[in-house]
C-alpha cells in the first residue's frame, strides 16, 4: 500500500520529513549528514550533534530503499493522539529499521499479518496513509513493507 501521489485529499504528516509529493512506490526520508564525521540524523538537523563537530552545518541526505529490522513491537492499546482516534482501534506494529547509512528509524509496519517480526528481516521504506484528518484529508507518513 503506497500513497505517493499528491492529491487534494492527502497531506504529509509534517513538512520537511520526506519528499512530497513523490512518484507512486517511491519514498525518500529527508535526513542530514555531517560533512566532517558523517553522522546521519533524522529528522534533519541544521548542525551536527557530535560535540567534536559543534555547529558544523550539515548537508541534506536522503534515506530510501530497504533496511534491516533490528527490533519491533506492537502498540496494543489506544495511544493518545491521532492513531488512537481510529475506530475500531487496531493494534499498531512498529519496527525499528536500520539503513546502510547507520541510522535506524521508527515506522509503522504496513499490511502486518499479526505474526512476530524477526530481527534481521528486510523492510522497504514506503509512504503510506496513516489516518484521516478531522476533515477527511488523508494524512500520509512513512512506514515499512516487510520483505
Amino acid at each position: 500500500m503506497t500513497a505517493g501521489a499528491a492529491t487534494a485529499a492527502a497531506r504529509p504528516v509534517a513538512e520537511g520529513l520526506f519528499v512530497w509529493p513523490s512518484p507512486p512506490g517511491e519514498a525518500r526520508l529527508i535526513a542530514s549528514r555531517c560533512p566532517e564525521c558523517q553522522d546521519v540524523a533524522f529528522p534533519a538537523v541544521a548542525h551536527c550533534r557530535m560535540p567534536a563537530c559543534s555547529l558544523v552545518e550539515t548537508q541534506r541526505t536522503e534515506i530510501s530503499g530497504s533496511g534491516t529490522v533490528i527490533s519491533y513491537t506492537v502498540q496494543r492499546y489506544q495511544p493518545p493522539g491521532p492513531f488512537g482516534r481510529q475506530v475500531p482501534y487496531r493494534p499498531i506494529p512498529i519496527a525499528l529499521v536500520e539503513f546502510r547509512a547507520g541510522i535506524a528509524v521508527l515506522g509503522v509496519v504496513q499490511g502486518w499479518d499479526g505474526q512476530p517480526v524477526a530481527a534481521g528481516r528486510r523492510a522497504r521504506l514506503v509512504l503510506a496513509p496513516l489516518y484521516p484528518d478531522a476533515d477527511g484529508t488523508q494524512v500520509v507518513g512513512w512506514g515499512y513493507e516487510l520483505q
Binding site: D39, A41, F42, R49, M50, P51, S71, R76, F83, L96
Partner: protein
C-alpha cells in the same frame, strides 16, 4: 565546606486522588518532612520544586504555589522541569545551596498528579518547526512503552533475556512493595500472574510497566551547623549528579524517531553520566552501594539500568535475578520501596520519593523491608530527551 545532611523526609501515600490538588499533596508531604526534621515552616530558608507540567502555569510554578499555601515567607524558590528527572533538579539546587553556604535549611519537593493512561504530549502554545515529541504520536504512535519494548527486545536478542526473566523482575520488586505502607500496589505477584496480564507493547505486559500516579515527597536538607545544633536523621547526601545524553549513544532515546545502533559510546549515557558524577562526589563506587532505587518504569529498565549504573556487568542482571540475588536480604536489593512498579510514576515527585526510601533505609526505619546493615544507597530517575539524576546517600 559543609556536608549536606538529611534533616527530615516526608511523603504522601501514592495513588489516584481525584479530589485533591497537587498543592494539597505537596503541603502534606512538606508538613510531614518538617515534622520529621523537628522544625517550623518559618525556619526554612529556601525551597526548590519540580514543576507539575500537567497543571498549567500554577503547576509549572509549583514552588510558588506551595510556599503560598504554607505561608508566604519571601524565601528564594526555583521551579525546574527535567522530565522524569525533575526532582533531581530540585534536589541538586537545594544540595548546592547548602553545600555552598547559601542556605542552612533548604527544602526540595515534588508534588504531581498524572493524566490517566499513557503520558501524553505536553500541550504547547507556540508551534515548533520540528517537534519529535509531537511526531512520535502523529507519525509513529510511539508511546513510552513502545520505546522500552523496542530496547527490551534488542536486549533479549543480544543477551538471551527471557519473558520469564521480565516477569521475575516484577515478582521481585512487588514483594518489596507489598511491605511499603505508602505504595499504591501492595500485592506480591507470581510469574504466572505477570504473564497472564495483557500485553501492552510486545513483549512487555501490563504488570511489567509502571502506572501513572498522584503523590508528593519532600526532603529537608541542612548544613553541618544546623545538624549539630538541631539534630538530623544521621543520613547525608554524599553526591547528587545530573547527566544528559551523548550523541555517540546507540540507545533509542525517547521521544526521538531514530537511533544510531552502531554508535560506539555507552548506552543510556545520561544515566551513566549522572551516576558517575554522583559516585565521584561521594567518593564511592558501585561496589560500595548496598541497595538501589532504580528508574524501574518497566521490567526492562531494571536489567538495563543495573548496567548503566555500573552495578552489574553486561548480562549479569539476569544471572543475579534468577539466583534471587536482587531481593531483600541478598546481594543487591533492588527497589526496596517497591519502586515505580509499586508506587506508580509521578513524574515530578518520584526522585524525592526515592530519597525518602534511602533515608528510611539508612536510618534503619524501613520496618519489614529493611536492608540490614545498609551504609550507602543510590537512587536514580531519568526522563525523555535524555536527562538523568542520581543521588547517593550514606549514614
Amino acid at each position: 565546606m559543609t556536608a549536606v545532611h538529611v534533616m527530615g523526609v516526608g511523603m504522601t501515600p501514592w495513588g489516584k486522588f481525584p479530589d485533591r490538588t497537587f498543592v494539597d499533596l505537596g503541603v502534606e508531604a512538606l508538613s510531614a518532612a518538617l515534622g520529621d526534621a523537628g522544625i517550623e515552616w518559618r525556619e526554612v530558608q529556601s525551597l526548590n520544586a519540580a514543576s507539575h507540567v500537567w497543571g498549567g502555569l500554577p503547576g509549572i510554578l509549583a514552588a510558588n504555589q506551595i510556599v503560598t499555601a504554607m505561608g508566604a515567607s519571601g524565601i528564594p524558590v526555583s521551579n525546574g522541569y527535567n522530565a522524569c528527572a525533575s526532582t533531581g533538579t530540585a534536589l541538586y539546587q537545594s544540595y548546592l545551596e547548602v553545600i555552598s553556604g547559601m542556605s542552612d535549611i533548604a527544602v526540595a519537593i515534588g508534588a504531581d498528579k498524572s493524566p490517566e493512561g499513557f503520558l501524553p504530549q505536553v500541550p504547547k502554545v507556540i508551534p515548533q518547526p520540528v517537534d519529535v515529541d509531537e511526531l512520535r504520536w502523529s507519525a509513529v504512535a510511539a508511546s513510552h512503552p513502545v520505546y522500552w519494548a523496542l530496547e527490551c527486545r534488542r536486549r533479549m536478542q543480544a543477551l538471551g533475556t527471557t519473558e520469564d526473566d521480565l516477569a521475575l523482575v516484577k515478582v521481585t520488586v512487588s514483594r518489596h512493595g507489598a511491605d511499603n505502607p505508602v505504595a499504591r500496589y501492595r500485592r506480591a505477584y507470581s510469574v504466572e500472574d505477570v504473564l497472564a496480564s495483557p500485553v501492552v507493547a510486545d513483549p512487555l505486559h501490563l504488570l511489567e510497566l509502571c502506572a501513572t500516579s498522584d503523590g508528593a515527597a519532600a526532603v529537608v536538607l541542612c548544613s553541618d551547623r544546623v545538624a549539630r545544633e538541631r539534630g538530623s536523621t544521621g543520613v547525608r547526601l554524599a553526591g547528587v549528579g545530573i547527566g544528559t545524553g551523548q550523541a555517540d549513544d546507540p540507545s533509542l532515546r525517547m521521544p526521538y524517531l531514530a537511533s544510531t545502533p552502531g554508535a560506539r559510546g555507552r548506552a543510556l549515557s545520561e544515566s551513566v553520566n549522572s551516576s558517575a558524577r554522583a559516585y565521584g562526589q561521594a567518593g564511592l563506587g558501585p561496589r560500595d552501594i548496598d541497595f538501589v532505587e532504580l528508574p524501574d518504569n518497566s521490567a526492562w529498565h531494571v536489567l538495563a539500568y543495573l548496567e548503566a549504573l555500573d552495578l552489574c556487568a553486561p548480562g549479569e542482571p539476569e544471572q543475579l535475578l534468577r539466583a534471587g540475588e536482587l531481593g531483600l536480604g541478598r546481594r543487591l536489593p533492588i527497589c526496596p520501596s517497591g519502586g515505580l512498579s509499586s508506587l506508580g510514576e509521578a513524574v515530578s515527585a518520584q526522585g524525592i520519593a526515592q530519597v525518602y526510601e534511602l533515608t528510611r533505609q539508612l536510618q534503619g526505619r524501613a520496618g519489614s523491608r529493611q536492608v540490614e546493615g545498609a551504609r550507602a544507597g543510590l537512587g536514580q530517575v531519568y526522563g525523555l530527551f535524555g536527562v538523568s539524576s542520581t543521588v547517593v546517600a550514606v549514614n
